[in-house]
């Protein structure tokens, strides 16, 4: 009977999702894409200009979209002061290191492309940065190593009486260990072996938060946990941007579009336009955003070695051995050469 009941009809069980592998498009858009950020933290600030690319390009060099070189890019403040950005690479423009945003001031990005398009952002006020109120981690034990993890908790203290919006970037850095080769027979000197390097884990998923129903209260940030699959060091870096409502809505709408699962209550696919417009050709779409916000940055070390139950630690050691997480088959004198590690940033962490 139970089996029969399990077979009973439930609507969700009849749905199916299949990937379409041969979906091809050409890039029919001539939209420009501009993305730049500035904050109260020291620069330089970078602005990128490029075109859209085809939706599924087979040429990976097209992933990023063709850069737009030769543009005049500048940041103007409310007093009329102009800061010119230098093109440091094709389509990549950077402000002088001495230029730094000031809280309360309004800024706007202005661009003139080589083919004469004038693009400008809305005026954006640099808001007061908000720091994290708490940022902690705690170990959560489990039967299997795959389920052991560190729970992360971070929160912001919202200010009462104002609508506040937050855009948070998370960047994790994980230390990885390689195996040193066997030393050469004497009398040859034993080379120095660098076997501790850092990997920057790819993540461009923003965390969005607002005080819609938590005005003046502590707002928890939704952070994914860290696996206990090694006992190496792990840093979590959070950059908190205190953004305005328009900026928050831009990212929220982007996220709405990105999490579509084709369901009946999905939002209708839509082009999300940010705060940039082409002044002399209003029909020409400009995608992307120029984000001006008060920003704070914090990095947290998650100690994956101290305070772990001995039994769990033993399980982890076996796990590491079994999964060859020390890359015993590919011994290296210098872990910086481990090209199989995506975003192997080398022996030290990026400057905090």
């Amino acid at each position: 009977m139970k089996r029969l009941l399990i077979l009973a009809v439930l609507l969700g069980l009849f749905s199916c999702e299949t990937e379409i592998m041969d979906f091809k498009t050409e890039n029919l858009s001539n939209a420009l894409v501009v993305y730049g950020e500035m904050s109260n933290l020291a620069g330089p600030y970078t602005v990128r200009l490029n075109y859209t690319s085809a939706y599924s390009p087979f040429d990976p060099t097209e992933f990023q979209g063709q850069p737009i070189p030769g543009a005049v890019v500048r940041i103007v403040d409310e007093t009329g002061a102009v800061t010119a950005l230098m093109e440091i690479k094709k389509g990549m423009y950077q402000s002088p290191a001495s230029f730094q945003g000031q809280v309360g001031k309004k800024y706007r990005l202005e661009i003139r492309t080589a083919d004469g398009l004038d693009i400008a952002s809305d005026w954006q006020q640099l808001s007061m940065p908000i720091g994290l109120k708490s940022f902690t981690s705690s170990y959560k034990n489990a039967e299997k190593v795959e389920n052991m993890h560190f729970k992360l908790q971070a929160s912001l203290q919202d200010s009462r009486g104002s609508e506040d919006y937050y855009f948070v970037k998370r960047q994790d850095f994980m230390q990885f260990l390689t195996t040193c080769p066997a030393p050469p027979p004497p009398p040859a000197p034993v080379p120095i072996c660098y076997n501790k390097c850092w990997q920057a884990i790819q993540n461009t998923q923003p965390i969005l938060a607002d005080d819609f129903y938590l005005d003046g209260r502590e707002i928890d940030l939704a952070l994914e946990s860290i696996p206990y699959d090694d006992f190496t060091e792990w840093y979590v870096q959070l950059e908190v941007y205190h953004v305005d409502k328009a900026t928050y809505q831009f990212w929220k709408r982007q996220e709405d579009q990105r999490i579509l699962d084709g369901g009946i209550f999905d939002k209708v696919p839509a082009q999300i336009i940010g705060n940039l417009t082409c002044l002399n050709k209003p029909d020409r779409q400009v995608l992307g955003y120029f984000m001006v916000a008060g920003k704070s940055k914090e990095r947290k070390l998650v100690d994956r070695y101290q305070g772990i139950p001995a039994e769990s630690y033993q399980k982890l050691v076996s796990y590491i051995e079994f999964n060859k997480l020390r890359y015993q088959n590919t011994p290296l004198w210098d872990c910086r050469l481990a090209a199989w590690i995506p975003y192997n940033v080398g022996l030290s962490l990026p400057i905090y």
């Binding site: 009849f14 379409i20 939706y55 990976p60 819609f212 129903y213 003046g216 839509a270």
Partner: protein, 829 residues
């Protein structure tokens, strides 16, 4: 107001028309002999006369005849006919009781109308279906279903399986007026949109008006689905019910006072929670999918000519899938109705109140909240009908409605919850309508239905209202003023006439041509920018930024009936229509419409047009095989242009509506294999609905800081080694750039320029009827929905994932991509 007075005078002028000299009134009622329920559409014929009469929904008929003796025949489909001799020397009134026919092979599938109603009826674009027909169609999970059944009719479509509501002739879902015993419903769905929210067992019959909408209907812009509920049996108690995989049903009806007062009670409840508990998946075990509905109707007869009824209806849905959020929607209605016949007048008074609430409950510990918008509607309505004999029939009436449309305050639902209250306003409005309609035969071959309705709407305080800077698109930063209206203050008024016209010209007894025009207005609008209408989408009243939606429809139709040598009757029709939609609502790209006090900044107002042709061939009667086949070509477009107060959608270019599906082919057949066993099948083919495909993609923040750091410090690019000890693969000058991850977004340009693959489905079913004469009557229905297990695309969608090199992925979703068998047992005793 002056316009209203003119209309009232126009209404009253009809009352002065009188009775022709030398004629007498012959009137009466025709009822079922067992249940004493009125029989609608029964025919009365007279010896030596070419004219006849038909009963209305209360079983009443009336006509004026010259004084003499007649042999009269009373007949209705499914009943034994009855004859009577009438000596008409004065006004005569009789009551006729018809006995059910045992000859059940002669069956009409779609309607219980006269066989020539298709040709002789003045209005077109009308489909009628008996409650008994609903149960004979193949169904999904054993549930006979009203809305799923009308989807099989030409001109009716949906955006996909499981989608709530339906679209009629290019109109939006919210433009359908769905009346349950005269009470409008704001939501007609159970389990999102898989089932209709009222019990098919309770349905006496339904009428779908796609065009030629009579003037007594109003308030929605595109169509009317008028569902009439059964009355209880006046003679004996009976119980019927059913068990299907998804729900259980029970219906009890009988006399409280024999022959005078009857009660009918129908309840239905889902079984899905029961199944969910058996699934080994913890997520499913934590899920909920409940629904129930209940109808109760008390009817009391006062003498021969009066009837009062008190009815109530409630429907509830609760849905939660593992997560901490529960979606609920609930409808509660109560209505009082009084019917009376007096000479050649009939009167119908209806007073009702309805409360539709919907929303979300957050169940996360410490963050419990509730958000529950609601609409409370209270209506008083009087309909009068005057039979003017050879001058036709006049209908007129008045309707007064108040609405309280609460956008739902977001608030904590437990004392421990830390969430703040976010208040949203309630909107108060009232709507008044007066109408007159007249059906006029013009000689023998022509008939004319004229109607005029005037609807007037007021949005009232208390309300806080924002004024925006003139000449600029509405946005938060263009608010110039906050206006506070006190209770009763009028914020905005709208009104207008709604003319209705239908003309039929009979070319011969079996052929007619009809033309029609109707205008409809709508003052309440459903805001939905999701693929399909969601049960928690909010309704919004017309206000200074949202004028009433107005739809003008022009139609022409050709109708012909014919029969074959076996006396089977076929009905054929071709109808063509053109619709112009004014002030249709659209949305800014990515609009946020929930809990938004300035939602008008997200809304756009534009125009639309729809046109189409519907070809229909129905075998209405036959010994064994009945059914129909239809083909519809239908288009629907929207145009949202920029103006001083809004930006354009789709660059100001016209685009297909989300439900624009040009080709529709449907067939339904019912084959009676024996006296008790019948086979039924239906087939549906529709073009794929429009969809917006991305034609490009782009990246915004692109792992910037890290890349810049690495680049500036000489970390990137640099050589590396593979695990196989080979040469470098990553992190070289040529590969670092392409691998650079980023926030990848699809770029869309023009709306709805592509289509998902076409939709095709075949359903089949067998019904084994109960044995005649037994006290316990059990019947079985076995159906297979989507027999070929076709994975019809509900949508094509795109994911732009992060952290992966291949970031642009395309998927197809099929909601019901399997053959779904069901077995239902129905009983009655």
């Amino acid at each position: 107001m002056k316009q209203v007075l003119i209309v009232c005078c126009f209404l009253l002028s009809f009352a002065s028309l009188g009775q022709k000299k030398g004629n007498y009134i012959f009137s009466g009622t025709i009822q079922d002999i067992e249940t004493k329920t009125p029989i609608e559409g029964a025919s009365i014929f007279f010896s030596g006369l070419s004219i006849g009469a038909r009963t209305d929904s209360s079983g009443y008929f009336s006509l004026s005849l010259p004084a003499r003796s007649y042999g009269a025949v009373f007949r209705s489909l499914g009943y034994k006919f009855k004859t009577a001799k009438i000596d008409l020397k004065e006004n005569v009134r009789i009551s006729i009781y018809l006995e059910k026919s045992e000859q059940i092979l002669d069956e009409v599938v779609i309607s219980e109308e006269k066989s020539d109603a298709n040709v002789s009826r003045t209005i077109m674009g009308v489909e009628k279906m008996a409650g008994s027909t609903l149960k004979k169609l193949p169904n999904l999970m054993g549930e006979a279903d009203v809305i799923r059944s009308i989807m099989l009719l030409p001109g009716v479509s949906t955006v996909g399986e499981g989608a709530s509501g339906f679209n009629v002739r290019g109109g939006n879902v919210d433009q359908n007026l769905v009346l349950l015993d005269g009470v409008p419903l704001f939501n007609t769905s159970h389990l999102f949109g898989f089932f209709t929210s009222f019990n098919a067992d309770m349905v006496q019959d339904l009428s779908l008006y796609k065009g030629g909408i009579p003037s007594n209907y109003g308030g929605r812009a595109s169509s009317v689905l008028d569902v009439r509920m059964k009355e209880g049996n006046f003679e004996k108690w009976q119980i019927q019910g059913g068990l299907s995989p998804i729900s259980s049903r029970l219906l009890v009806d009988g006399p409280l006072n024999k022959g005078k007062t009857s009660l009918i009670l129908g309840v239905r409840g889902s079984l899905s929670d029961f199944y969910l508990g058996y699934f080994p998946n913890p997520a499913l075990q934590k899920s909920k999918a409940n629904f129930y509905d209940m109808n109760v109707k008390l009817t009391h007869r006062i003498g021969k000519n009066q009837r009062i009824s008190l009815s109530a209806y409630t429907s509830f849905d609760g849905f939660k899938f593992a997560a901490d959020t529960m979606y609920t929607w609930q409808t509660k209605t109560i209505s009082f109705q009084h019917f009376a016949l007096w000479r050649n007048w009939s009167h119908h008074f209806n007073a009702f109140a309805s409360d539709y609430s919907y929303g979300i409950d957050g169940l996360k510990s410490g963050y419990e909240f509730t958000w529950r918008p609601s609409i409370v509607q209270k209506t008083l309505r009087e309909d009068l009908s005057l039979d003017l004999k050879q001058w036709g029939r006049s209908d007129f009436g008045v309707e007064f409605t108040t609405y309280r449309n609460d956008a739902g305050t977001f608030q904590p639902s437990t004392v421990n919850s830390v969430v703040n209250t976010f208040p949203m306003q309630a909107e108060y409005s009232r709507e008044m309508a007066v109408y007159v309609g007249h059906s006029l035969p013009i000689y023998k071959r022509m008939s004319l239905d004229l109607g005029l309705r005037y609807a007037y709407y007021q949005l009232q305080g208390p309300q806080v209202f924002y004024r925006y800077k003139s000449g600029l698109p509405r946005a938060i930063n263009t608010i110039t003023d906050t206006l506070r209206f006190q209770s009763g203050n009028v914020i905005q008024s709208y009104g207008g006439f709604e003319p209705r016209l239908s003309l039929a010209v009979k070319l011969d007894t079996n052929t007619s041509i009809k033309i029609g025009y109707n205008r409809m207005q709508q003052f309440m609008h459903l805001l939905s920018n999701t693929m399909a209408v969601s049960p928690v989408d909010i309704w919004k009243n017309s206000n200074p930024y949202l004028p009433q939606q107005v739809v003008d429809q022009y139609s022409i139709g050709f109708f012909r009936n014919f029969s074959n040598a076996k006396n089977a009757v076929f009905e054929a029709s071709a109808e063509f229509y053109y619709k112009r939609l004014s002030h249709v609502i659209d949305y800014m790209d990515g609009a946020a419409i929930y809990l938004n006090p300035t939602v008008e900044t997200e809304l756009l107002v534009g125009e639309g047009r729809a046109y189409g042709a519907e070809f229909f061939l129905k075998k209405a009667r036959g010994k064994r095989l009945t059914g129909w086949v239809s083909y519809t070509y239908a288009r629907s477009f929207r145009l949202i242009e920029a103006n001083a107060n809004q930006v354009a959608a789709n660059f100001g270019k016209e685009f297909p509506a989300n439900f624009d599906m040009p080709h529709n082919f449907k067939f339904v057949l019912n084959n009676r294999l024996s006296k008790r066993i019948s086979f039924n099948a239906n087939f549906t083919y529709t073009s794929g609905r429009p969809i917006t495909y991305p034609n490009a993609r782009y990246k915004v923040y692109a792992f910037n800081d890290l890349f810049d750091y690495g680049y500036a410090n000489g970390i990137f690019p640099r050589p590396g080694l593979t695990t196989a000890g080979g040469s470098n693969t990553y992190l070289t000058g040529t590969t670092i750039q392409p691998l650079l991850d980023g926030y990848s977004s699809p770029s869309f340009t023009l709306r709805n320029q592509e289509r998902i693959p076409y939709y095709m489905r075949l359903d089949v079913g067998f019904t084994i009827e109960a044995k005649e004469g037994k006290r316990w009557q059990g019947s079985w229905n076995f159906s297979i929905y989507n027999l070929f297990a076709r994975e019809n695309a509900y949508s094509i969608f795109f994911r732009s994932s992060t952290g992966l090199i291949n970031q642009a992925r395309t998927y197809q979703l099929s909601v019901l991509g399997a053959a779904i068998p069901s077995l239902t047992y129905n009983f009655k005793f």
